[in-house]
């Protein structure tokens, strides 16, 4: 079922890409609408800054627009646009250095019904009084303590639910490297978020 959905999505992308390559700007707009929420999550979780995210997304889609005629379809559009996004965000973060200005997003109210959120904020946790804002702050701070490469992998795997193989294609490193980056990133995060974890 999931595979079927993915195939139809890829087919839909292929048609939109072909139309965009022929100069149909509406088709490109449709691709922007479709991928902005996913790419927003990727870039925001890597930068922890809303303004940077907005600027970077403009750069990413502008680059994609300029390059779409050269997109040969060897990978899916999804992998292609993700690769552009990860590379441009990593380049930006390297330039930005340590001048981090965290600005947080609104949190969807759906989180309040998420069992994992309930588990963290209630019950046996010593921080059961923790509020949503505090949790968000701590998670962001923990993410920012990771290196850019580790943060990218954590974002794609833990937050966005991509598979190791997909992350490998996007980042251009082996699956083994993806797994190893995840392992070390999780270990670091455990230290930063020790008091949030369920006992």
């Amino acid at each position: 079922m999931n595979e079927k959905v993915q195939t139809s999505s890829s087919e839909e992308d292929r048609i939109l890409v072909e139309r965009a390559q022929e100069g149909d700007t509406k088709a490109f707009d449709d691709l922007v609408r479709k991928y902005t929420p996913k790419l927003y999550g990727l870039v925001y979780n890597m930068t922890s800054n809303r303004d940077d995210t907005s600027d970077l997304l403009q750069d990413i889609f502008s680059k994609a627009y300029r390059s779409i005629k050269r997109f040969m379809g060897k990978s899916s559009f999804y992998t292609w646009i993700y690769s552009i996004s990860v590379n441009m965000t990593l380049n930006y973060l390297k330039k930005r250095g340590r001048h981090i200005k965290v600005s947080m997003d609104d949190v969807d109210s759906g989180i309040l019904n998420d069992p994992d959120f309930i588990k963290v904020t209630t019950g046996a946790s010593p921080l059961r009084e923790v509020n949503l804002h505090e949790l968000q702050t701590r998670l962001n701070m923990a993410m920012m303590k990771l290196s850019e490469d580790h943060r990218a992998v954590v974002t794609m795997y833990d937050i966005q639910g991509l598979q190791h193989a997909e992350i490998s294609k996007i980042t251009g490193v082996s699956e083994g490297t993806v797994r190893s980056r995840l392992f070390y990133a999780h270990r670091q995060l455990q230290n930063y978020l020790e008091d949030f974890r369920s006992k």
Binding site: G41, T53, S62, L135, L139, I159, F183, R197
Partner: protein, 178 residues
């Protein structure tokens, strides 16, 4: 549940963070503005390029090629007509009309004043090799052409001799008779 799964679930809560409302529409508006700006910028550059190409192509059209070639030929002709024979040595033989004499004057490079020296060329009506004229000059100066001779050319012809122009160096002489 192991530690890694715990952390994964905790970090996974970040998926609830959402872009501000209307973000996608705003992004599209900004993107369209950027695309237009880039298009205009490209247009300005491509327009300048196009003008340059057109300008170059304009010069290579047949009518302009013909005009350019004609102008070039005319300029070349004028230059050739005005150029001094001594600077453009000509054929190695001259035709002396029958009964005519060849008047040659030589100029010192330092004091270019003409002093016509008349040679009797007996090969009237035939082509005279320059070498013979050179010999005549050589005989006249006995020890060959003096070093100070810069140019030897035909001066005003002696009575009944043809007009003509010659040029020579101490070792080479060329010329023509009109």
């Amino acid at each position: 549940m192991n530690d890694h799964e715990d952390i994964q679930k905790l970090i996974g809560l970040k998926r609830y963070e959402m872009p501000p409302e209307g973000f996608v529409d705003d992004l599209l508006i900004k993107l369209h503005e950027r695309q237009r700006a880039e298009l205009l910028h490209q247009s300005a550059l491509s327009l300048a390029w196009e003008r340059l190409i057109t300008y170059i192509q304009h010069w290579s059209t047949p009518q302009w090629s013909l005009a350019t070639a004609t102008a070039t030929l005319m300029i070349a002709a004028v230059v050739a007509m005005n150029s001094h024979p001594s600077e453009a040595p000509m054929a190695g033989k001259v035709v002396i009309p029958e009964g005519h004499q060849l008047a040659v004057s030589y100029f010192k490079a330092s004091a270019p004043e003409a002093s016509p020296i008349v040679f009797d060329v007996s090969h009237s009506g035939t082509k005279v090799p320059i070498r013979e004229i050179d010999l005549l000059l050589g005989n006249h100066f006995h020890s060959g052409l003096p070093n100070e001779v810069g140019i030897v050319r035909a001066g005003p012809p002696a009575k009944g001799s043809p007009s003509g122009t010659f040029s020579a160096s101490p070792t080479i002489m060329t010329g023509s008779v009109k």
